[in-house]
Amino acid sequence: MSVRDDPLLRLDRVSVALRQGGREMVSGVSLSVGRRELFGIVGESGSGKTLFTRTVFGLHDDAVVSGGEVTFDGRTMPAKSHHTEMKRLLGKRIGFIPQDPFSSLNPSMRVGAQITEALYLARGLSPKSREARDAAIAVLAEVGIPEPDIAFRQFPDQFSGGMRQRIVIAIVLAQEPELLIADEPTTALDASTQRLIVDLIVERSRTRGLSVILISHNLELLRQSMDRIGVLYSGQFLNLFQADQLAHQEVHPYTQALFDCIPTKDKTLADIRPIPGEPAGAGFGLAGCSFADRCAFAKDRCCATPLPINDAGQARFSACIIGKGA
């Protein structure tokens, strides 16, 4: 995979801060997402993954990109007009799937109208036209909605959570973006539906040749379906690794600790090790590693030494200063 060659999206030391008070919530994120690459971002609740992604893609009102460079398809966005530039890309080249399908569809608008609106915004198709209607029904069929021509006329509350998330995916796919961002698209769904939805996103993106950023707190889900994974912990970018080479490579102690608490069929209950302590929230502006107080390998200097940053934009990276996973 040619990840490094001309990536679709490149983040260079990107930081995100609250608009009011300017507190830095996430800092120093450097990563790139290649064309047709599936990229996972994992983090616990409060790690800042949702805040970070929403802010970078111009969908957060209360936070701003406070540092670093965002480059999309070779074009670096000027820091001052980041929001405006992003708005121009949203709905045309970048698609976004929000977390909760029970609130991400407009309850008073028919499913069909929500898709034809997307078609109008992306391609200028008249929402009432035959062409828009046919395209909407086709994309509903593509995401596996049974009887799409009936669904076209129905309202969101007539569908289950899994079906709603499929409709959201249909809305986003209808706009034919190049980059698809999914913010915890399965959190509100039950376990078996989660699998189906992630599989659908992966399969559709592979077929259509999209790049994907999938955010989740479920590391195992990401490992099984993504190409590369980035790890966020309390606002710090700790690790970046290739999902399929896990067996052959060492990972950051935090990533390892996350894997250690995933139950699998070759683990007994005693093998499942919860991470000691409480997850630290984002936004404390620590100089050192925020995972140090829970880390089994931590040394004194972990808390004091400034956290390394993925300067060179490498495909693999570990922020561990004692050399774990680097």
Partner: protein
């Protein structure tokens, strides 16, 4: 369909409770209706005869059933003061009041909905703070005080609007058809009368609506803020929708629903509040009728006004429920 029947049945039940309470009211107020009706010079025999004639000797439940039967026949009793059937009085007094309430409601909606939507969108900005300050102050102003202030400044001092009355002196011969002068003047093709009647309505309608508008803005703002936080707004933004499209096509239809319920209730409350405004602006209407009935101890009149105001309140709420039902996704999905 089941829902509609359920709402109608519920309203009918509420109406029954309302009738019971008004009936109770007429019994707990001090004074013997028979003595009052007989007049000051009547002897004990005449009073006793009247009491039998008025059904006051009957048990409480029997009296209540008779009262219900009378209402069903459209008989609200006879005024002790005008000696007219109260129903005729009310049919004459209700149109001017409803006209006032409708105009006040139009003002209320025309301000509450857009201002509520905009303050929700610009939540936390200086604009929002200023509007909230005014809404708070407006909600705290008593209606009679607002009415007097408006009358003093806009009518008396600056003479922009008539001080009092329903229609100008030069149009006093104007004959209505429905009793709603705005409508009548259009039906009769009299734009001059229309604008005269409207100018008489503006100040009282503003005075009546201010408090309700302040509440309406706050309620609309709160429900719209809730909508702006929902993920469908995020998805709409991600789809590339502009702020105008998000506000009017996405947020507004969803956020207006809770406000509509409140506006339905406000309609009934406004009719009750006409008591203050009509008295100050010297307008005929049910509120002024009520004041007269109270000062003349005309119990039947007071009870009838309470009943009619309650009835309008229930009907307005029923109408809102029906509208919301007709607009709800489930209903439209059926149709």
């Amino acid at each position: 369909m089941a829902y509609i029947l359920q709402r109608v049945a519920f309203s009918a039940l509420s109406l029954f409770v309302l009738v019971f309470i008004t009936f109770l009211l007429s019994h707990v107020v001090p004074g013997d209706p028979a003595i009052a009706a007989a007049g000051p010079n009547a002897g004990a025999e005449k009073i006793a005869a009247l009491r039998t004639e008025m059904g006051l000797d009957e048990p409480f439940v029997t009296q209540f059933l008779i009262y219900c039967g009378n209402i069903l026949q459209g008989d609200l009793g006879t005024s002790w003061f005008t000696h007219q059937p109260i129903l005729d009085d009310l049919l004459r007094e209700l149109p001017p009041s409803l006209e006032l309430v409708v105009i006040a409601m139009v003002i209320n909606l025309a301000i509450s909905l857009p201002v509520g939507l905009l303050t929700a969108r610009y939540n936390g900005t200086t604009f929002d703070d200023i509007v909230r300050l005014f809404a708070m102050a407006g909600a705290g102003l008593p209606i009679f005080w607002t009415a007097i202030l408006l009358q003093q400044s806009f009518a008396a001092d600056w003479q922009l609007f008539p001080v009092a009355g329903r229609i100008g002196f030069e149009y006093r011969a104007f004959e209505g058809i429905t009793g709603f002068y705005l409508l009548d003047s259009i039906l009769r093709g009299r734009p001059d009368v229309f604008f005269d009647v409207l100018s008489h309505l503006i100040l009282p309608a503003f005075a009546l609506s201010l408090l309700f508008t302040a509440v309406g803005v706050r309620i609309t703002r709160t429900s719209m803020i809730g909508e702006f936080r929902k993920d469908y707004v995020t998805l709409a933004r991600a789809k590339g929708a502009g702020e105008g499209r998000i506000m009017f096509r996405h947020v507004f239809p969803n956020g207006a629903t809770p406000s509509l319920t409140v506006f339905g209730m406000q309609f009934g409350w406004m009719l009750g509040a006409t008591v203050l405004v009509e008295e100050i602006f010297g307008r005929p209407g049910i509120g002024r009728y009520a004041v007269k009935a109270v000062t003349q101890s005309d119990i039947h009149g007071v009870v009838a006004v309470v009943f009619v105001v309650g009835l309008v309140f229930l009907l307005a709420n029923l109408a809102v429920d029906m509208t919301l039902y007709a607009l709800s996704p489930r209903k439209r999905a059926e149709g």
